[in-house]
């Protein structure tokens, strides 16, 4: 197995006095789809936000691309962030800008590309997510599924090495959810992206997961492949898959 692209060791996250994440140690390997799975409120999104420093971890170590990021200064960390794309739960498109402007932000800010090239890149990325004709639309004019696809286009606009998706299928109908999963798989195979997905949608997990990290109550209970998870004797993991009638 290749060297991990993201290494988390003994990560603790607190909110006031309450411990939200307890001694999390996980590795994410390159060119794989790793799904962080668990019930609602178990700390999946908090874990992602702590790994990528959107929340400051209480203690522990996070290494991305082999570099410790917890004590990195802002300028250094920005160089790391340029190699990562993130799709947020509700898309998080900037509401005051249309899709073109939203997706052009990373290109305008981090490259010196001329507008004609930026224009082409954006059109390609929007076509990839089947939103080629929505360039001029504002986020408020999009459906939930369209927002997520547009946000995915923004997340991949700089061709990141790591793509993080926070509940990409949540709130979507099965067909849209399946097409989003297919797109994620396409990105993985075409661009050899490392993809980290937070999800509790079993159908989606079944389609895309190479590796699972199972969380419960702020702790990691299991890491391994889907097959190993299904055979796991850990009661919480077993219940999760059994209740979901998943085999």
């Amino acid at each position: 197995m290749k060297k991990p692209i993201v290494e988390v060791k003994d990560l603790v996250a607190k909110y006031g006095e309450d411990t939200i994440l307890e001694d999390i140690s996980i590795d994410i390997y390159p060119e794989q789809v790793t799904v962080i799975v668990g019930g609602s409120g178990c700390g999946k999104t908090t874990l992602i936000k702590n790994i990528f420093k959107l929340y400051q971890p209480y203690s522990g170590s996070v290494r991305i691309f082999g570099e410790e990021i917890t004590d990195m200064d802002e300028v250094e960390y920005e160089q790391v962030l340029k190699r990562i794309g993130m799709l947020f739960q509700n898309g998080a498109l900037i509401n005051s800008m249309n899709l073109f402007d939203n997706i052009s932000i990373p290109l305008e800010q981090h490259t010196n590309l001329p507008l004609s090239i930026i224009d082409k890149i954006i059109k390609v990325k929007l076509n990839l997510v089947n939103l080629g004709d929505a360039l001029e639309l504002n986020p408020s004019e999009l459906s939930g599924g369209m927002k997520k696809r547009a946000a995915l286009a923004r997340a991949i606009v700089l061709d990141p090495e790591i793509l993080v998706c926070d509940e990409p299928s949540a709130g979507l109908d099965p067909l849209t959810s399946a097409s989003l999963d297919e797109l994620i798989l396409k990105l993985k195979s075409l661009f050899k992206m490392t993809i980290i997905i937070v999800s509790h949608e079993l159908a989606s997990i079944h389609r895309i997961a190479d590796r699972l990290i199972f969380m419960d109550n702020g702790r990691v209970l299991f890491t391994g492949s889907l097959e190993e998870a299904k055979r796991s004797k850990i009661p919480e993991v077993e219940t999760f898959f059994r209740v979901g009638k998943f085999d």
């Binding site: 959107l54 962030l81 993130m86 947020f88 509700n90 932000i105 305008e108 800010q109 981090h110 923004r154």
Partner: protein, 355 residues
Amino acid sequence: MYLENKTLFFDGNLTRFNVSELLHKIEEFKDKEIKFLDLTKVSNIDSAGVAFLDELMILFREHTPHLLNASESVDTTIKMFSSMNITPVVPKEGLNFFTRIGDSLFRWRESIIRGFYLTADIFFWSFVCIFKKKGMRKGSVINQSILIGVDALWIIGLLSFILGLILALQSAAQLRQFGANIFVADLIAISMVREMGPMMTAIIVAGRSGSAIASEIATMKVTEEIDAIRMMALDPIRYIVVPKFLAITICMPLLVTMSTLIGIAGGLIIGITYLDLSAISFINEAINILTFKDVIVGLLKSVFFAWVIVIIGCYYGFSVKGGAEGVGKVTTMSVVASIFWVIVLDAINSIIFYF
């Protein structure tokens, strides 16, 4: 409902429609010994009915009454909705008085430190962005200048004009008794340049743009747009706040200048129509009474007010917690705090320059 042989009999429905009535009736059995609650004739029960039975269990707990003859459906409903089996939540031990004071002092200290960091960040990035445009959206300073400045022109102009009229009218009524009509020009010029122009403009901008800044940032935080900007390797202060800061720094002195001139024009109209002054004499008097210091202090003050409005708006916007309610709360707090600090700063300024 009736009592017989230490058994309380119920019939019909035990639902939210008759529970209140039954609770009143139960008063007459309060001192009686009740060992059984018979539900044979109860045909329908809902969660309010089950809560009523739970109340009876507590009320007659000395005799530990038992439920009798509940039909299968009634029994299932009771089991599902009874609060008797719920483990009571132990409330967290409350903090004592001194701990609470200490805690709020610590929070206060933290919020002051956060405010200073934010202010330092805003000033630093605003300075950097004058020379290096990367990190800011193209055209954002102009867009913000239109929102903060141009769109506020008519309301600030209108209110300043009315204010000038009122000030002149009120002072004219007094001054004309002493034949000091011409001093209305002095009064209007000094009050508009030193106080009313900057203060009125600042209060309107705080209400209009300060609230917009706070609610925009708060909404962006709630909808994870700030996180998204961060994940795009951009600094949210630089990308969102700096354009507003630069725009308001440019617009505020211009708005104040306009407000002052229009306010004086309002006074001029009263001078001409009510006090029989000529326009030339009014304008000459107004110009002669003003010093260079008055104009500069008024304009500098407006820049400080502008900074206070942006910093407070951003501070509250970034400290939002919760959803829509939180956004509303921080917006209100930011407007109140901006107006408060504008007035306090104005008082400090008056003491420094004119005491």
